[in-house]
Symmetry: C2
């Protein structure tokens, strides 16, 4: 899932380094895309590590935090597992797993769908609602409010990634 303890910085940008190698191997036309993909992976790992470090003391992982927030923002605090998977872009089996654990710690409850007996709803418990709020306040203070980038760059990043996601059929 995450983290990385906190290694020492490299003396050079590994993405730049890889780009040079790509060019040297006659792959120059793909070098820029490779750089984008590699940057994305590394940046995601770094951010995920920061997020998980904040959530760990609260007994949460990012995956479970996302489920909690989705429920918190849903009208009645409950959703079919299938909707959760769609929204979070994860496999149904991953939802089963996350809800299992949230249920085991009393943050969520499974309840039957009123009309469709195939469907199971995940419903926030009061403890789940409270923890979701507390976790968000911690994340806001320690990560989201300090993205490690100037505000302009943050907006640019969000916009470019939105373009990419739209093109990939995320929404």
């Amino acid at each position: 899932m995450t983290s990385m303890s906190s290694r020492a910085p490299l003396p050079f940008d590994p993405v730049e380094e890889a780009r040079r190698h790509w060019a040297g191997h006659g792959w120059a036309d793909a070098a820029e895309g490779m750089a984008a993909v590699t940057s994305l992976m590394r940046a995601q790992a770094i951010v995920l590590a920061r997020v998980e470090a904040v959530l760990r003391p609260l007994g949460l992982t990012f995956a479970r935090y996302e489920v909690l927030m989705l429920l918190l923002f849903s009208g009645r605090g409950s959703l079919p597992l299938s909707r959760i998977g769609e929204r979070l872009q994860v496999h149904p089996a991953s939802v089963t797993n996350a809800v299992d654990r949230l249920e085991a710690t009393g943050l969520v409850e499974r309840t039957p769908h009123p009309t469709d007996r195939r469907t199971t709803l995940a419903a926030l418990t009061p403890a789940g609602r409270e923890l979701a709020t507390k976790a968000t306040e911690a994340l806001n203070a320690e990560v989201f409010a300090r993205p490690g980038l100037p505000a302009d760059d943050v907006r640019t990043l969000v916009d470019v990634l939105a373009t990419m996601r739209r093109g990939a059929g995320d929404f």
Copy 2:
């Protein structure tokens, strides 16, 4: 590790949606950072899925592909496991795991370090070298050459992410 089969697009941008909720809960000051983090996670998942889909038929995962490429670009095609972990930003245990599997499929060999007996080197085999090249050509053609973004945006993305990574101590 990855993928997602290929769900139907959502009828709205979930990141935008979350931003509205953040504002509505009095967390407006952290909304932009939240959007950046969430976008990054989703975009990474999408790209990783594309990459893994290309590598799967070759019997590789992205983690192992990265190890192979690192070795390919190193002078003699061999590196201490510790260097691999530093470069790829992963825990030593993850390197052990990846090298175990690469070794089991004959793509890499463990050899003792000539002077430091604590250290183990991972060395590319001819098969490993060949597969690394073939996998790169597949990735170049199917992913890196079509990042799903205009060239300008790709460059912007790489630059912004480099700024973020530098600030986070990636290099």
